[in-house]
């Protein structure tokens, strides 16, 4: 297979404009003759579904939640980037593009990233028009904050709930179309497979999570807006039900999966506190604007701290190791996420953790409170502080927060071309589900931007090109034998899961899987470790299919069954993550190989051999994946060693 990224020719800044002109259009009267399936209703899914319905297409949306509004985009806290340059601080589309490429450690596709920066400005306009209550200055104009990896203030925010507000905006637009009858919304449905006829995606099979029934839906195009696969690690900041099943099943039907090893470990999360822990809670990166990250300089102090003999405030300034500020004076606490996370790992590996039986560093607001006053800090982060206190019982106004990195976002995903189409014709991937815009590391406040860019401003143009090509009314209906075939294979898979009747719960095995991936394919990886990880995961797969216990049956609400099919997919995906990480003999962004680092412990990229996206092709059960390269051609940006010093 040869990958065609379909990146248009021409100067970088004109590519998208030219491409839009060259794309085929569907005439307005014909639009309603097409049916588009949108799976997932987060920022990408809701914005795509609403925008496509506004254009006149028939749209159906599917989400496993009880309401489209509960998609996990809602939990994004900090903000959304846009190259508005309202602050007059030197921002521009090109700078946002450049920061994103650099932040991604030169492993993203230039043209996609530039397009993302271009449409970022329209996103803010659109959201404000929808009534998103972004923070305002007293003069009534939009306020901005700065975020990691950038030296300009370009992040728009709505308190600590930016994702919620943006999603409510997109959900409002979606609701309007549902109300108008242009969108059919199917809630509590999980997509279990796509249906292909003559090589192109023609529909999906979903499971009604209330009745257990399988339902067939035919569509001229299928948009997967199903988010990332961070929950492969069991513990992550993702929602409990976030999963990779839709993407993985599509992958097994021929969609290539690119760069699965690029995982973002978010530096500021609440540390793990016990075996029973079900998820990790993120504290917005925006906290690093005013919080200072530190650990005690020596182990003796750490010991006293861990035993409760002294408190953080008792440690004199000279004994504090503000490791980010010392190592990266230019960016200080605002280095990109991967750098901040890795350094937290280094200091705790050195035995400087501030909690006993676990790993954590301080995020300290004492200086900011002294400088700006408690009220200012409360206005900026009040709800985050409250959340922290509710969870930990500590008051961050008085004592430093304890934080540690946690799995947060997956840059890898289904391989898509410039039109966001996967390698299966008619099957698209949007938002976190695809791989294209963030390279090996995503900058803060860019996930919301990408989800909405794809949904509002990219897919409405690009999907038309494909639809015009296939013509209206040329997609087979749900009575096509292909639907029945897929349905039967799902039933067989389900019966198999229910029939194992072993001794371990799905969570038992998921925790084991998560630990294996975290240990071997986490913040720091090695060739040996990855080989070991792959073997471990194979063993876990074995154990799962022989010893898992899935209670209940197939024709009712069965949350355990739901978890079981998701974990079965995570196991396969976990192995591919390790394989991809093993293949990539370099360090870049979220992928840090200890065997490839500079003498100072920084990531050592290998542009000569690895400036490509690794797209993996499923070859069948028990067959190794085949890797297909998409070479990343940097025409406009010079590849440099990323430095935040």
């Amino acid at each position: 297979m040869k990958l065609d990224s379909k990146v248009p020719e021409g100067p970088l800044a004109d590519k998208w404009t030219n491409h839009k002109f060259n794309l085929k259009l569907v005439n307005p009267a014909n639009k309603r003759k097409y049916h588009i399936i949108v799976v997932g209703t987060g920022l990408a899914g809701a914005s795509a579904a609403a925008s496509l319905a506004e254009l006149g297409y028939n749209v159906s949306t599917f989400c496993f939640q009880d309401s489209p509004r509960r998609a996990h985009s809602i939990a994004a806290q900090g903000g959304i980037n846009a190259a508005k340059n309202y602050q007059n601080d030197g921002d521009s589309v090109y700078r946002l593009f450049y920061d994103t490429i650099k932040g991604g450690d030169y492993r993203s596709r230039e043209a996609n990233t530039h397009r993302l920066a271009e449409v970022s400005v329209n996103i803010i306009d659109q959201c404000v028009a929808q009534g998103v209550p972004f923070a305002r200055e007293y003069g009534g104009y939009l306020a901005n904050r700065s975020f990691g990896g950038a030296q300009v203030s370009r992040t728009f925010y709505a308190r600590g709930q930016t994702g919620q507000q943006l999603l409510l905006g997109a959900y409002g637009a979606l609701n309007r179309q549902i109300g108008l009858g242009n969108v059919q919304s199917y809630n509590r449905r999980e997509m279990l497979d796509i249906v292909k006829v003559d090589g192109r995606a023609c529909g999906i099979i979903v499971k009604n999570l209330i009745t257990g029934e399988l339902e067939r839906h035919a569509g001229d195009a299928v948009l997967l807006c199903t988010g990332g696969y961070g929950n492969a690690y069991f513990l992550s900041t993702n929602a409990m039900n976030s999963n990779a099943t839709a993407a993985w099943r599509a992958h097994k039907k021929g969609a290539l999966f690119a760069n699965p090893c690029y995982v973002q470990i978010h530096p500021t999360c609440i540390p793990v506190h016990g075996d029973y822990q079900s998820k990790l809670t993120l504290m917005s990166e925006s906290l690093r604007n005013d919080g200072r990250v530190w650990v005690p300089r020596d182990k003796a102090t750490v010991e006293k701290l861990q035993q409760g003999q002294i408190k953080a405030a008792d440690i004199p300034e000279a004994d504090r190791f503000y490791y980010l500020e010392e190592k990266y004076p230019a960016f200080g606490n605002l280095v990109p996420r991967d750098v901040a996370s890795r350094n937290a790992k280094y200091v705790t590996d050195d035995g400087l953790s501030v909690i006993p039986d676990g790993e954590a560093v301080f995020l300290d607001f004492t200086d900011a409170i002294n400088r700006l006053g408690k009220d200012t800090i409360a206005a900026r982060y009040g709800n985050l502080f409250e959340m922290y206190q509710r969870i930990t019982d500590d008051n961050p106004y008085q004592v430093p927060m304890k934080i540690f990195p946690a799995v947060h976002y997956t840059m890898g995903g289904l391989w898509v071309d410039y039109n966001l189409m996967t390698t299966v014709p008619g099957l698209y991937a949007l938002g976190e589900a695809n791989f294209s815009d963030h390279g090996a590391n995503r900058l803060g406040a860019s996930a919301l931007m990408q989800g909405l860019a794809d949904g509002y401003f990219v897919i409405p143009f690009t999907v038309g090109d494909y639809l015009a090509e296939i013509g209206p009314g040329n997609t087979p209906g749900t009575d096509h034998p292909a639907f029945q075939e897929v349905e039967q294979s799902i039933q067989a898979h389900t019966q198999q899961l229910l029939g194992i009747n072993g001794s371990k719960t799905v969570d038992d095995i998921h925790k084991k899987l998560g630990k294996a991936i975290w240990d071997h394919c986490g913040m720091a990886r090695t060739a040996d470790g990855l080989r070991e990880g792959i073997e471990k995961i194979k063993g876990i797969k074995e154990e799962f299919w022989n010893d898992v216990r899935v209670p209940g049956n197939d024709n009712e609400i069965n949350f355990e069954l739901q978890k079981a099919w998701r974990v079965a997919d995570f196991i396969e995906l976990g192995e591919l993550m390790c394989r991809d990480a093993y293949n990539r003999n370099e360090s870049c962004g979220g992928h840090f190989r200890e065997d490839f680092q500079t003498p100072e412990g920084e990531a050592l990229r290998n542009d000569a051999e690895y400036a490509y996206a690794a797209a993996w092709e499923w070859k069948g059960d028990d067959q190794p994946h085949e890797m297909i390269k998409e070479d990343l051609n940097f025409e406009f940006v010079e590849l440099k060693t990323r430095s935040y010093k």
Partner: protein, 257 residues
């Protein structure tokens, strides 16, 4: 941090097989619960035990577990989301309970929120209310530059206060009349405060109230329980504000919608 002694509790949990089942409270003793666990993590532990015993685990809605998605929905000892203010069930921690406590856990109770199974209820009534008019009609691409229209900081803050609603349904659950007025008014107010929301302000209030009534929610008697139990602290002033919109647009307005 609180002490590390573990808790033994008696849980009295509503079990109901489906919408047509009568349902009953079932008692589950549970021990070795760490005070640092969240309430839902305690349910994970309980379900783990039930599965291993070959029993049917308890169905409950949850997703983000960080208090923002609005999926979790438990009536804990007669209080929506438990004893703490401005806290969702997923953010409630076991340190809030004492060793030996008996805890009742029930689903939201309202005719408009039928029980699906155990503690899971169907809240699509909320979606239908919003589909009837809870939005600003602006097509993608229609927008003007975001800074063309300055919006006073305090107005944006008021809108944001209302917009924080997570749609969990605690207001309905805690209202003695199962009224949805806090939810509906929060949604209406969020948009009514903003200049962008003005063109559809009257229509929005009417359509949403209309749909709310059709869903079979009760009537607001201004007891204020919803405001206290709301995990996001949405103020009941939004209810009065929406009443004004509704009455102005139906009684005072010259045009009928």
């Amino acid at each position: 941090m609180a002490s590390n002694t573990s808790l033994s509790l008696t849980l009295k949990i509503w079990r109901q097989n489906g919408p047509n089942d009568k349902g009953k409270i079932v008692t589950y003793p549970i021990s070795d619960i760490s005070p640092e666990m969240s309430f839902l993590e305690m349910f994970d532990v309980l379900n783990d035990q039930l599965i291993k015993k070959g029993e049917d685990p308890i169905a409950f809605d949850h997703d983000c577990r960080e208090g923002i998605c609005g999926a979790c929905s438990m009536m804990i000892n007669g209080q929506a989301h438990g004893p703490h203010r401005r806290t969702t069930t997923c953010q409630l921690h076991m340190r809030s309970f004492k060793d030996g406590d008996t805890i009742y856990v029930e689903p939201w109770r309202a005719a408009a929120f039928p029980v699906v199974k155990d503690l899971v209820v169907d809240r699509e009534a909320f979606d239908r209310i919003l589909q009837s008019g809870g939005y600003i009609s602006v097509n993608t691409g229609n927008a003007q530059d975001a800074n063309e229209m300055p919006i006073a900081n305090e107005i944006a803050e008021n809108a944001m206060d209302a917009a924080e609603c997570i749609g969990c349904g605690a207001c309905v659950a805690s209202c003695k009349n199962a009224s949805a007025m806090l939810f509906v008014s929060a949604k209406a107010s969020h948009l009514a405060y903003l200049p962008q929301g003005q063109p559809e302000r009257n229509r929005r209030a009417q359509m949403m109230v209309n749909q709310m009534d059709e869903e079979g929610f009760g009537n607001c008697t201004n007891t204020g329980a919803c405001e206290v139990q709301c995990p996001k602290g949405i103020s009941i002033k939004n209810i009065s504000r929406m009443n004004a919109d509704f009455l102005r647009s139906t009684i005072a307005s010259e045009t009928e919608i």
